[in-house]
């Protein structure tokens, strides 16, 4: 098993921390992981992205150009990464703010309105966990049990009371993920 994932959106949407939680969940599942962020000047007030690789073997190149799964949270990222999804792969995106929706027919597409999901959960900061929930619903890369352990590793002990809120957001995302294309 080897899954190459790109998560891309605006700085502040929690792209990097979602990637970190996914990577840590991978470690909890005894997988090899890499987490490679874009750290160029585009991060400062612009787009941010992170490539996460989960594999049951040692990972060679942390740099890839085709992805098994793309998680897309703004228009610029959709324009840039829709074409990089491998045929038969997954594209998970938040349609709010999107003017040109994904068009490919040879990939699986899932839509998640995570702003609404975060509002339902009662905290806008768990936006990225709603997205993670949608990803795990359609592409269960790691078990929920290991995601919970991963969350425990990523959230500082003094904020551990926030774990149930994050879990609720993931569950909301799982419930509201909408598959809009099957390859």
């Amino acid at each position: 098993m080897k899954e190459e994932i790109i998560i891309a959106g605006f700085g502040g949407q929690g792209v990097l921390s979602m990637g970190k939680i996914l990577a840590y969940s991978g470690i909890m599942q005894d997988l090899e992981v890499t987490w490679m962020p874009s750290y160029g000047p585009e991060m400062r007030g612009g787009t941010a992205n992170v490539c996460v690789i989960l594999s049951d073997k040692k990972i060679g190149s942390p740099i890839v150009t085709k992805y098994d799964t793309a998680v897309i949270l703004n228009q610029q990222s959709l324009d840039k990464f829709e074409k990089t999804v491998k045929p038969g792969g997954w594209l998970i995106y938040d349609p709010s703010g999107i003017t040109r929706h994904p068009e490919r027919k040879d990939i699986n597409i899932c839509s998640i309105n995570a702003i609404e999901g975060a509002a339902r959960t009662g905290n806008s900061k768990v936006y990225n966990m709603v997205v993670l929930g949608a990803l795990l619903k359609v592409n269960p890369l790691v078990t929920l049990e290991n995601v919970e352990k991963g969350l425990g590793k990523c959230i500082p002990a003094r904020y551990s009371s926030l774990i149930p809120l994050n879990k609720a957001a993931i569950e909301d995302g799982m419930e509201h993920a909408e598959i809009i294309n099957r390859a």
Binding site: K20, A23, Y24, I27, E32, V33, T34, W35, M36, P37, Y39, G40, P41, I59, G60, S61, P62, I63, V64, T65, K153
Partner: protein, 360 residues
């Protein structure tokens, strides 16, 4: 089993320094390695191990703080990125001239000048060939993962004290910024005053009546004395070259085409080898782990079995000269690189490989 923690290469450097009994870190922030000092400031090791962490006013200052700390036999280190390391080069030359141990971490970015903040390997010549003035060598070790970043701090100090020589951990923006899982080894305490006297009997530790004074200097006004010192350094470097070469190989056993790449490039070249092997092309990879001393012997051995070799570097072609010297005409040597902070993809390298070998 030791706990596995997800962390950046830069964070691994900081945590390793604390856990391996480093006495002092002196630095000045610069992308892409600022997380080293950030992590140290967050961990506050001065409250636990007593390790000093200090933000100097410049890189020139931090390297001279290393000069002072190392003179006292302490385990001292700094980290920076390309432009900052250029500022340190005078100090590194003095430290090499005074035969003092220290570890300098260089997380390379694109240059020349202020350049970019993205990953690069364009300071190979600078660091491997010296950097500062005078006939000297840094021992240069090149990590390719967050675990290497963790492990090479301790290995770096081992080499630095064994040979009384500066050691440079030559990393790049990818290795510094990428998160991977890191396995922690048991804590090593900082050395006691007695242990410093034992391990660094040359150090300036306060002169008792029972011994002659120790003088730490890189100055000699007598040409004959300086020449004797240069010859002594040459003997030391010969010992380092004989004993400390380290490399790793991937699929080289029956390989007809050999890639040579260090650091992040060696990771990318593993994917290149996999792709070519899937097409039935017998490719392999040699990764120099020590850049000085360079694995010339192993490259010469592989050149005898190879149809060609290719050096893959994030620069305009620097290590390729050392590869050519080692190959010594035994097979053609090619080069492919990207510059300025751009990174090649495995596909791009495969295409360049085929062009070079007439396989396209």
């Amino acid at each position: 089993m030791a706990e596995k923690i997800l962390m950046k290469g830069n964070e691994a450097i900081a945590i390793s320094a604390i856990r391996n009994g480093v006495d002092g870190y002196f630095g000045y922030p610069i992308t892409p390695q600022s997380e080293v000092m950030e992590t140290l400031m967050k961990e506050k090791p001065w409250e636990t191990t007593g390790m000093v962490v200090l933000q100097a006013e410049s890189e020139t200052s931090s390297i001279n703080m290393l000069y002072g700390g190392a003179s006292c036999g302490k385990k001292v280190m700094t980290s920076s990125s390309s432009p900052g390391v250029s500022l340190m080069c005078e100090g590194i030359s003095y430290i090499a001239g005074a035969e003092l141990p220290c570890v300098v971490v260089d997380v390379m970015r694109g240059g020349p000048g202020l350049g970019t903040i993205q990953p690069s390997q364009s300071d190979y010549n600078q660091i491997v060939k010296g950097g500062g003035h005078g006939d000297y060598h840094n021992i240069v070790i090149a990590p390719a993962s967050a675990q290497d970043m963790y492990d090479f701090v301790d290995w770096g100090f081992e080499l630095a004290f064994k040979y009384r020589n500066p050691v440079v951990v030559l990393a790049d923006g990818i290795i510094g910024q990428m998160m991977e899982k890191v396995e922690m080894h048991p804590m090593k305490p900082r050395r006691t005053a007695e242990e410093i006297l034992r391990d660094a009997p040359w150090a300036v530790t306060g002169k008792p009546a029972s011994r002659e004074r120790h003088i730490i200097t890189s100055l000699s006004l007598d040409a004959d004395i300086q020449e004797q010192f240069n010859i002594k350094l040459k003997e030391k470097y010969a010992m380092i070259e004989a004993n400390e070469v380290r490399f790793s190989e991937y699929m080289t056993g029956d390989a007809e085409y050999i890639f040579v790449a260090f650091g992040c490039s060696s990771r990318i070249c593993e994917a290149v080898v996999d792709e070519l092997r899937a097409e039935g092309i017998k490719a392999g990879l040699l990764r120099p782990i020590t850049l000085y001393p360079f694995p010339s012997g192993e490259i010469a051995r592989l050149a005898a079995q190879a149809k060609s070799m290719m050096s893959i570097e994030l620069n305009l072609g620097q290590m390729v000269h050392d590869v050519r010297l080692a190959v010594n005409g035994a097979c053609p040597v090619g080069f492919y690189g990207r510059q300025g902070g751009n990174i090649y993809t495995p596909e791009e390298i495969v295409a360049e490989f085929k062009k070079f070998n007439g396989l396209a």
